[in-house]
Amino acid sequence: MPMKPPTSSSAIHSDSLDNGSGDGLERATKQNARSGGGRNWARWFAAGAALLLLALVAWRLWPTPLQHGIVVQAPERAFDFTLTDEMGQPVQLSDFRGQYVLLSFGYTACPDVCPLTLAELARAVDALGARADRVQVLFVSVDPARDNPALLDGYMHHFHPSFHGATGTADALLDVATQYGVYFERRADSAFIDHTATVTVVDPKGYIRAVFPYGVAGADMAADLTRLMR
């Protein structure tokens, strides 16, 4: 860069214009480009920052608004219970850490609600395809008097080979049900048991993430689970 005394830009322009219109125009454009370059750089930076902000917003917003389930943001882990599974072995909720547990309550003699829920859960697991091994359906029977492990085993596998069932003593079941917002009670002089029919989703770390009300279709549950899994 030649050592020149500082001159005003108009002087530089008039100097370069003196050399002939073609050259002058070229040099004037270059001058403009150089002095406008600072503003361009700031614009691109601002655009980049806006893009980054948008990307952050999209990344945060993208996975979680569930269409059908209700998202829960629990600060503490879900109640870890111990019941007896369909093989007669003790089973704890924490045995399924690392998987999304879909917890549902009912009984095998249930005429409509439980079979419908389990059928939809089976559809959901099938709809998940390759992701199905990240999910475990656990059906808790609130009717230990009739639902022994063998009966539970047959019932579960009727719906899907991967499903697990569990039951326990009346007190243990009441404790679990209370903690999961489930009410159940046998109707007087009846084979039927009234019970809450929600499906609770516990994440791989043991926190409740969502609750599906009764009647959500399997495909919809699968879509919501896919969103949760991202």
Partner: protein, 223 residues
């Protein structure tokens, strides 16, 4: 021209997102935990279950029939809420859509409180039978419901009275705990504001606005 178009495509959503966060057009209460499933007996000797309260906002408070001075301020707080809710209902009477109903629930953690004791207690606190349920039950159930699920400590003393946490819990229509007030008498306007927020969310969180509410849960700080 093209450059400005590019910038505005990037800037406008970014500014909209910032505006959402700063102006906070939607306020939501956190979804803290599942409310317990229960089946207890009320002051009329009838069963009240958590399923009966589905679809209704419920404000819970924990006390016992023999509690006198220690419970005066929390009973008074519930009475004030009851009065306000009744007033609001009278004002709403002309409205076409029925707002989400709000119930008050007092659970007595004293398993000795039978239906008569609950009825006397309800009469003393002037509980409106349509709206304010005073519930009692058996000891182990109460421990699970109040002690464990609502995380409210209580212990019987030698003289038959109790040492206990003062707490109020707000539960929404889906059975999720939305607010916990660890105070003998939370400010009335705070409780009313929170009840109103839950009602609004229940009424407005449909279709597209549901996304806005879920975004509020994800992005905004809680009030």
């Amino acid at each position: 021209m093209k450059r400005y178009l590019l910038f505005s495509t990037l800037f406008i959503p970014a500014i909209a997102a910032l505006a959402f966060v700063i102006i906070q057009p939607i306020t939501v209460l956190p979804r803290i935990a599942l409310a317990p499933g229960f089946a207890l007996t009320d002051q009329h000797g009838e069963r009240l279950t958590s399923e009966d309260l589905r679809g209704r906002v419920a404000l819970y408070h924990f006390s016992y029939a023999d509690c006198a001075a220690a419970c005066a301020s929390s009973n008074a707080a519930m009475q004030q809420i009851q009065a306000q809710l009744n007033e609001l209902e009278e004002l709403d009477e002309g409205a076409t859509d029925s707002p989400v109903p709000v119930d008050l629930v007092t659970i007595s953690f004293d398993s000795r409180d039978d239906v008569d004791a609950l009825a006397r207690y309800a009469a003393r606190i002037e509980a409106d039978p349509q709206r304010w349920h005073v519930l009692g039950g058996e000891a182990t159930r109460l421990k699970q419901i109040v002690g464990s699920s609502f995380r409210t400590y209580y212990k019987e003393n030698d003289d038959g009275h109790f040492t206990f946490d003062r707490a109020f819990v707000l539960v929404d229509g889906w059975g999720i705990q939305r607010a916990i007030y660890r105070s003998a008498a939370p400010p009335l306007d705070l409780l009313l504001r929170d009840i109103d927020l839950l009602r609004q969310e229940a009424e407005q969180s449909q279709g597209v606005t549901r996304y806005a509410y879920e975004a509020a849960h994800l992005f905004l700080c809680y009030p």
